[in-house]
Symmetry: C2
Subunit: 513 residues, 2 copies
């Protein structure tokens, strides 16, 4: 919850109770990862993986479908075969690109209080993204609508532990040429966190940039000077960069906006079946995308993205939160640090419903990402069915481990007063500390307040309906939406609306496939 | 599952499928923790906590209810007030005890293949323990019976990732003076893993020792030379060691058997409300117990136990898997390493049913324990309602993250063949790796095989009943029990039965409260 909202909400939910509640303030806005990143492989093997990825780019190359992208690679010195569209990229080009790609930058938000440092050591979370469908226990599983998209923005805005916005669900009820107006407008109107723009062709991308620029009242130069939005570029593994993705890299780099280059390398399907083999391919593809960004505009803010996991070898279904996923994440983190770039990890679950499996997979992926030292974790809340669905209830239940990790970013007090010798002396052997002065001074703020966890005893739990956490989560998201107040309007929202009106009259902007 | 059993079971469960299954062998028997323990507090604060705990023992003392224990403390140099039963223990006595307590020892099992190194760096798991009740989706929530106890032993035996036995549920249908015969016999007959003996008075403890000695065909000397069973000693926080606990420490130390000294310090209830204050009290109480063991028999195998967490300040209910629990675990690990002893952490959940909350809490506690560098984690599977219930379904769903952690103990292959350059070269851009030679050579064994996770798509999942993981877990434990074959009988089981018969005729052994 926001640092002011949680108390209000909980007081309402438990309104019947008369016991005074703890009044705890939290600050989850900029988290510093307390854990030293895990070295799943020794450094020389990471170097060996990087070296093998360079061989993939030099000797095998990437198929790049966009002519303008091939031209840029060629001008940078790559060997391009126009017939096969294959681009072979020498290691000198990669080295130069890595030298200009910033290892740290500030991601700007509509509210400066939501600005995020994108650098190793910072920990930021985004909700589940890109799902065609959504689900809740009220309306069931369904294709996403604009209303659902907006509600996920409201939920994302309402919890500080969700640091920036993600396209949680596709607004399928809005025509494709107009959808990006609705999605971008909703993000700007309902949240003060950094918006997301899909790379679905230059026209849509530039529309998104313009709306954000207008809303914030920035000049073109001001907008281009810092990243004000993010996108994700997925290569088509193995070794293809398609037209919208290549165009997206170019468009975002030219405008100085943040692009995360994320190959989606499922081991055994689109990538070698070994964890390290899939990561070699991922690394090569990510490097190819980073090169395109840097030759387009040296210094363009890019994030090294990874989302490698395994598949069920019977069905080909992706799996998440498995040992292979966790190991892939931790080694991807090593690769990102090897090339000194911020790293985006991917969480989520492949569970068919919001249950114990879904919770276990999402939390396991969370820990793999945290222990891997990610800068940004996406799909951190709500994502299930391998991304086919974002669930309102799972969004809520997944916030609990995210908030727990956020709490772990602050070490507990260990000054002499905290160590409590006097309190221990005050309480007789076999006594209790409930009324000790040490307790009374601290009980309002001592403990994390759970969002959805229920610690009541069996009788109380049965008397209150015997609901699972997922069932209880329904009333949590409903209450958050009922209580929702949008942030103060941005100065240029009228200009945004005028822009949308004009562009809609012009027919909107077609998606480029 | 055991390293031979998982494949058999899964083939049966999915008997209708014709697709050839991967044939993967795993070895989860002795796990080396791959993670460097996390330093939640700087070393000087750990030293400060140890110092404060020494002050608690020196200046405030412990109330020790057993006269023989007070006599032993007094003879070791402690200041004892017989009227108040207060024992004040000087730091020299603590230092001497820590010098004789072994930092590493081998915990013997009925089968040598189940022997466990008890030392920092090893990772061992036990199931949820000590619950008065159990639950499953067939018979519901109920007081534990011997049948349930035996079934949990069978389940514990069936999965290698459960390393030693725990008293998962109380066999309430067996009279208290006979219960330990039935519980010890069941462990010896149904499992080749190290059994657990409750410290409920000398008569019961010695009965347990004798049964284990007889079953294994050991002489008295052989039995006393190494630990063949374990117990848990809970101090009565704050600062009381009651009669059965003090007697248990003495009995186990005299016989050279493993005692884990675990204060149960709920911050704000039986301990100071601060994480570090609760741990100071825990540390003092654990040290007092360790001293009693070492003055009874220098070198007696003891484990530093911790189980500190917070409480719901409205209801007083304990909480688990919270930030406070995780921080307590990680700092307890630092304290254990400070005094160079193996460390027992406690997992579990306070959830009222086996749902997403229960999964999240148990996994969060698991990661706190793993990142804290625990040697032994108890309550790792099945524990809910803060220990009032051990659930058969949750036992199964909790095994998935445990097996995932076990898989993480082995780094992925990173030799040149694993890096897969040739496979990447073989597959054309945009192609797939399903039929690549690199894949065909490895697909049977490449990936972890889930125990209960379902990765099928929505239609398939609905067609197979639309069950949650918890609901699916019912058929998993039922199948494991149906397939169960006990290990080969121990040589002395006839002698055990003769012993039980004789002791039962004598009236059994009363519990000491």
């Amino acid at each position: 919850m926001t640092d002011t909202g949680q108390e209000t909400r909980r007081r309402r939910r438990r309104g019947a109770e008369t016991v005074e509640k703890p009044q705890r303030s939290t600050d989850y806005r900029v988290l510093k990862n307390p854990f030293t990143p895990h070295e799943a492989l020794p450094p020389e093997r990471i170097a060996g993986m990087h070296e093998t990825a360079l061989r993939v780019l030099e000797e095998l190359g990437m198929r790049v479908l966009l002519p303008d992208a091939r031209r840029r690679y060629r001008e940078a010195g790559a060997i391009v075969d126009e017939d096969t569209m294959m681009v072979r990229i020498g290691r000198d080009i990669v080295t130069e690109a890595l030298a200009t790609a910033p290892s740290a930058f500030r991601l700007r938000a509509p509210s400066p209080r939501r600005d995020l440092p994108m650098e190793t050591g910072t920990l930021t979370f985004k909700a589940g993204a890109g799902s065609p469908n959504c689900a809740d226990l009220v309306e069931g599983r369904r294709p996403g609508r604009l209303k659902d998209f907006e509600n996920f923005i409201r939920l994302s805005q309402s919890f500080d532990v969700i640091h920036a916005l993600a396209p949680c669900v596709e607004a399928q009820d809005v025509p494709i040429q107009s959808r990006h107006y609705a999605m971008t407008r909703a993000q700007l109107a309902l949240s003060d966190k950094t918006p997301f723009v899909y790379a679905r062709g230059t026209a849509q991308v530039l529309d998104g940039f313009e709306m954000i620029r207008l809303a914030k009242g920035l000049s073109e130069e001001e907008f281009r000077a810092e990243p004000h939005c993010t996108t994700v570029i997925n290569t088509n593994s193995p070794r293809v960069i398609d037209i919208p993705m290549a165009q997206g890299i170019i468009d975002f780099a030219e405008a100085g906006q943040m692009a995360t280059i994320t190959p989606f390398c499922l081991a055994g399907a689109m990538a070698p079946i070994t964890v390290t083999g899939a990561l070699v391919l991922q690394h090569a593809e990510a490097l190819a995308g980073i090169v395109l960004a840097q030759i387009t505009r040296p210094g363009a803010p890019v994030v090294y993205g990874s989302f490698s996991s395994g598949v069920d070898m019977r069905s080909g279904s992706p799996s998440f939160g498995t040992p292979e996923h966790v190991q892939s994440a931790m080694i991807a983190g090593q690769l990102a640090r090897y090339i000194d770039l911020p790293w985006r990890a991917g969480g989520g679950s492949a569970a068919p419903c919001a249950d114990a499996q879904a919770a276990n997979e999402t939390q396991m992926a969370l820990w793999g990402s945290v222990m891997g030292g990610c800068t940004l974790l996406i799909h951190a809340a709500g994502w299930m069915e391998g991304g086919l669905v974002t669930s309102f209830e799972k969004f809520i239940t997944d916030l609990e481990p995210l908030q727990t990790i956020a709490e772990l970013c602050t070490p507990p007090a260990s000054d002499d007063a905290a160590l409590g010798f006097d309190a221990i002396a005050e309480v007789q052997p076999g006594g209790h500390f409930f009324s000790a002065a040490h307790t009374m001074e601290r009980y309002r703020t001592a403990f994390y307040e759970p969002l959805v966890a229920d610690w009541s005893n069996h009788g109380q739990w049965m008397a209150s309906g015997g609901l699972t956490a997922t069932e209880r989560a329904t009333s949590v998201w409903q209450q958050v939406l009922a209580d929702f107040t949008p942030p103060p309007p941005l100065p240029g929202m009228d200009a945004v609306d005028a822009f949308i009106e004009r562009r809609e009259k012009e027919g909107g902007a077609q998606v480029v496939d």
